[in-house]
């Protein structure tokens, strides 16, 4: 057994194994699709598939936001309540102040950006651990949503077409047979952009580098704090988009909603093979993870499994997904 490690030989293993988990998640998704379509003829109906996609859109967008943060080796527990707060801000701008639609959308996204910036600042500059910092932000935002809205839902009845942002279908206008909701298109757009940022921009490079070895990045003379804040701010803006999506879908900003969404988002990220210890992860994996969660919920509902049990199944899948990853790594 010769030990002449040629530079090109070993890393291929690493890349394959990175893809391996995505493959595993993808086969899991396919297996679920096969099982459910065999179990129920209703499952593969176009309407049902579109419903699954629609149901994935909000969680998917949040999960993309969390993916960015988790790759840095951090965590963001505030994404759910931040989404709600952004929706409430949109409601205030559009319904209470009666301002035009673009201002409402911009307001929501900028609110997300600002909140992410604050989280990032607390983590990078004040050195509060991400778990604690974003736990605090989660509660702050939850409270602010209730305060700003006066604990009442804000309806978007004065903004005609607001619900079309998520529920309408641009594709359907051209291809009537395939009315893919806009919410799904927005999810894919967000995913594509996030993937692009991760793979092709300096911000993306530092995102991976931070999760891989933060001290090494610091010693390389990189302004670690600034980039870390930027990642949280970007994740925050994506939460703003999720806020618009959910508000549009419900045609209202529901201030009591939001808590719990962060856990679904983290679940999607983990099932999709992103390492919670940072340095590794993909947006594609996260999308697959989010789809697995919605397919499970949808399929089990079609099979008339009680909602309580759906949660149990999702929990089991999370543990199995991570365990599969650990088994693989042990074998290496």
């Amino acid at each position: 057994m010769s030990e002449t490690t040629t530079a090109g030989a070993k890393p291929r293993g690493i890349r394959i194994t990175g893809a391996y988990h995505r493959l595993l998640a993808f086969s899991g998704l396919l297996a679920l699709l096969v099982v459910f379509s065999l179990a129920s003829p209703n499952f593969l109906q176009t309407a049902n598939i579109l419903a699954i996609l629609q149901a994935t859109s909000v969680n998917g967008v949040l999960a993309v936001a969390v993916t960015l943060v988790i790759i840095t080796g951090g965590i963001d527990l505030s994404v759910g309540t931040l989404m709600t707060f952004c929706a409430v801000v949109a409601g205030v701008i559009l319904t209470y102040l009666g301002l035009p639609l673009p201002l409402g959308l911009a307001g929501a996204i900028l609110t997300g950006l600002a909140s992410g910036f604050i989280s990032g600042f607390i983590i990078a500059k004040m050195k509060v651990p991400p778990f604690i910092a974003t736990l605090g932000m989660m509660l702050i935002l939850k409270g602010l949503s209730l305060v700003v809205s006066g604990t009442k839902p804000i309806y978007f009845n004065n903004t005609p077409g607001f619900n079309q942002i998520s529920l309408g279908s641009v594709v359907g206008q051209f291809v009537p047979a395939l009315p893919i909701p806009n919410g799904v298109l927005i999810l894919f757009a967000v995913a594509l952009i996030a993937n692009f940022i991760l793979r092709r921009t300096a911000l993306g490079r530092y995102t991976f580098a931070l999760g891989s070895n933060e001290e090494a990045v610091r010693l390389s003379g990189v302004n670690v704090d600034r980039w870390k804040i930027a990642v949280y701010a970007l994740a925050g803006s994506i939460c703003g988009i999720a806020g618009i999506l959910i508000a549009s879908r419900l045609n209202s900003a529901q201030p009591a909603l939001g808590q719990g969404y962060e856990l679904d988002a983290i679940a999607a990220v983990v099932i999709g093979g992103t390492s919670l210890s940072g340095g590794r992860g993909t947006v594609l994996g996260t999308l697959i993870g989010a789809l697995i969660i919605s397919v499970l919920a949808n399929g089990l509902r079609i099979l008339s499994v009680a909602q309580e049990w759906q949660t149990v199944v999702t929990g089991t899948i999370i543990i199995l997904a991570v365990y599969a990853d650990i088994l693989r790594r042990r074998r290496l």
Binding site: G8, K10, A216, V217, N223
Partner: protein, 532 residues
């Protein structure tokens, strides 16, 4: 350009022959004067000084803890000095961050390689300075630039390779490439050859000579005398946080340098090696294997014997120790204690079988730094101090802890002092105390003196000798050959997961280094491995 000595004279144009010749340069490239640095509880540097000229290799030597790394980290902008002046090119500079140092052209290659394992070689090298095309990263230029640097180093490596998958030697090459990419004028290397074999060392020296010829000033921190003689122009020696002196490398005898390092002429401190060949075997390991890390390792340790484990970084010594202790799984192999096979699957099994392990990294594995000294000492023996209903008997714990504090002369204000506030040497003693309380007949010490000062070291040495004298079997892993030579009754040497030989105590450094670099291809069945 792979020769080492040859290029040197050609390019340096005789400078080497007159290292102090006036007028060669009006000012030194770097001058550090009266540098002070204080860490909580430790004086790391006291009026330390150092200077470096362009185109020279200046070795910095001293025992562990002498302050070499701290001084260089100050030069690299990682630590801030508490006092003193630094001049670069004759101008006073204030190096507040690694970035400032890098911008001036001062780069450091760390002993613990600081790479981002999930990034490629090229991405590591250009981190923070990625070539861009507008908003986007220019991955092609990145890889091309990296390729160009590798070429200039005569290095055949794929820029797209993941850093985490490279051997330590290659990772080091990536670090050097990174330093070169900054067009560094000062390159600090902290024990660069610690994990390299001979061929890799030759490659490294060829690169150093080329850099030197280009006028780069190189600070070379090392313990290895032969390397200093081969590569350095001048040697600065430090001891106990202070500057001792600077001498020309070529003409100063090794003995002089060593006596400057230790502060006295080194006598043969190796105590007489007791004959333990008749003592019963306490621990026998047969065919221990796991993947590439541990390959078919077999050895015995007798009661009252200190078996030293020597080898380069990454040779698999710690892995063997952890496997024996049940901290990591094994794929094959047997562990026998007092001649009986025991199943050690977890550290708990190991402890009940009588094995104590003092890990390499005290802070992370050996010591609960947040707990006080007393609780650290009694931690593995807690069952003994548990009364009915699970209530701990604090009184008995206090008596036991105080007894050991006295016995080992642990310097602590009280047994309720937090362990993290103790000095390194005393923390190490606390870890030893906890295994003494367990009364383990087999003790494994992994780098027992890493990061502790000279005085504490000799106390630890005495303690190890005493433990063996009491009839315990002691395994000691150390990267410092003098330590291995001074303490070991026999010396096991590992290379790349294999036990390449077991030498009798008092073997020469050369014999050990030969076995430590014995690559698998060269491993023949070695008769010495059967010595016991």
């Amino acid at each position: 350009m792979l020769g080492t000595g040859g290029d040197l004279h050609v390019y340096t144009d005789g400078c080497r022959d007159f290292p102090h010749a006036a007028g060669r340069r009006l000012t030194a490239l770097v001058e550090m004067v009266d540098i002070d640095k204080q860490f909580p509880g430790v004086r790391a540097l006291h009026k330390a000084r150092f200077d470096l000229e362009a185109g020279e290799v200046h070795a910095l030597m001293g025992e562990n803890g002498a302050g070499k790394s701290t001084l260089m980290k100050i030069l690299a902008g990682i630590y801030r000095r508490d006092g003193g002046d630094i001049r670069f090119d004759g101008k006073p500079v204030d190096l507040g961050s690694p970035r400032e140092a890098l911008n001036l052209g001062i780069a450091i290659i760390h002993q613990e390689l600081a790479l981002m394992r999930d990034l490629t070689a090229a991405q590591n090298i250009f981190i923070g300075r990625e070539p861009r095309a507008g908003w986007l990263l220019d991955e092609k230029k990145l890889n091309d630039d990296c390729e160009a640097i590798f070429k200039s180093m005569h290095l055949a490596m794929d820029p797209r390779v993941n850093a985490g998958s490279l051997t330590i030697a290659k990772q080091q090459m990536v670090e050097i490439a990174k330093a070169l990419s900054f067009r560094s004028r000062v390159l600090i290397m902290d024990e660069p050859t610690a994990a390299l074999n001979d061929a890799e060392i030759n490659e490294l020296f060829a690169i150093i000579n080329r850099l030197k010829a280009e006028g780069v000033g190189i600070v070379y921190i090392s313990h290895k005398m032969d390397e200093i003689k081969r590569i350095a122009d001048r040697v600065t020696i430090m001891r106990d946080s202070e500057y001792v002196g600077t001498v020309p490398a070529a003409t100063t005898p090794i003995e002089t340098i060593i006596s400057m390092m230790v502060g006295r002429t080194l006598s043969n401190e190796q105590a007489a090696i007791p004959d333990t060949s008749a003592a019963p075997v306490a621990l026998e390991v047969r065919g221990l294997s796991r993947g590439k890390e541990i390959r078919d390792v077999s050895f015995t340790v007798r009661k009252g014997e200190i078996l030293g484990f020597a080898g380069l970084m990454g040779a698999g010594r710690t892995e063997v120790a952890r496997a024996i202790f049940g901290a990591d799984p094994i794929e094959a192999g047997e562990i026998l204690i007092d001649g009986r096979p025991v199943a050690v699957k977890t550290p708990r099994d190991a402890v009940s079988a009588g094995i104590g392990y003092l890990s390499e990294d005290r802070k992370h594995f050996g010591l609960a730094t947040g707990l006080d000294v007393r609780n650290n000492i009694v931690l593995p023996s807690l069952e003994r101090f548990t009364g009915p209903a699970g209530v701990l008997r604090e009184g008995a714990m206090e008596v036991a802890a105080k007894g050991l504090i006295q016995q080992l002369a642990i310097k602590t204000p009280s047994d309720t002092q937090e362990a993290r506030l103790l000095s390194g040497g005393n923390q190490q003693k606390v870890v030893i105390a906890k295994w003494l309380l367990r009364d383990c007949p087999i003790l494994i010490f992994d780098e027992p003196t890493r990061g502790i000062d000279v005085g504490a070291k000799s106390e630890i040495y005495k303690l190890l000798n005493r433990l063996a004298g009491e009839g315990r079997a002691v395994i000691m892993i150390s990267s410092e050959l003098p330590e291995i030579l001074r303490l070991s009754h026999r010396i096991a040497v590992m290379c790349e997961g294999r036990l390449t030989g077991i030498l009798p105590g008092g073997a020469s450094q050369e014999e050990i280094m030969h076995l430590a670099t014995l690559r698998p291809s060269a491993v023949a069945p070695d008769p010495t491995t059967k010595a016991a």
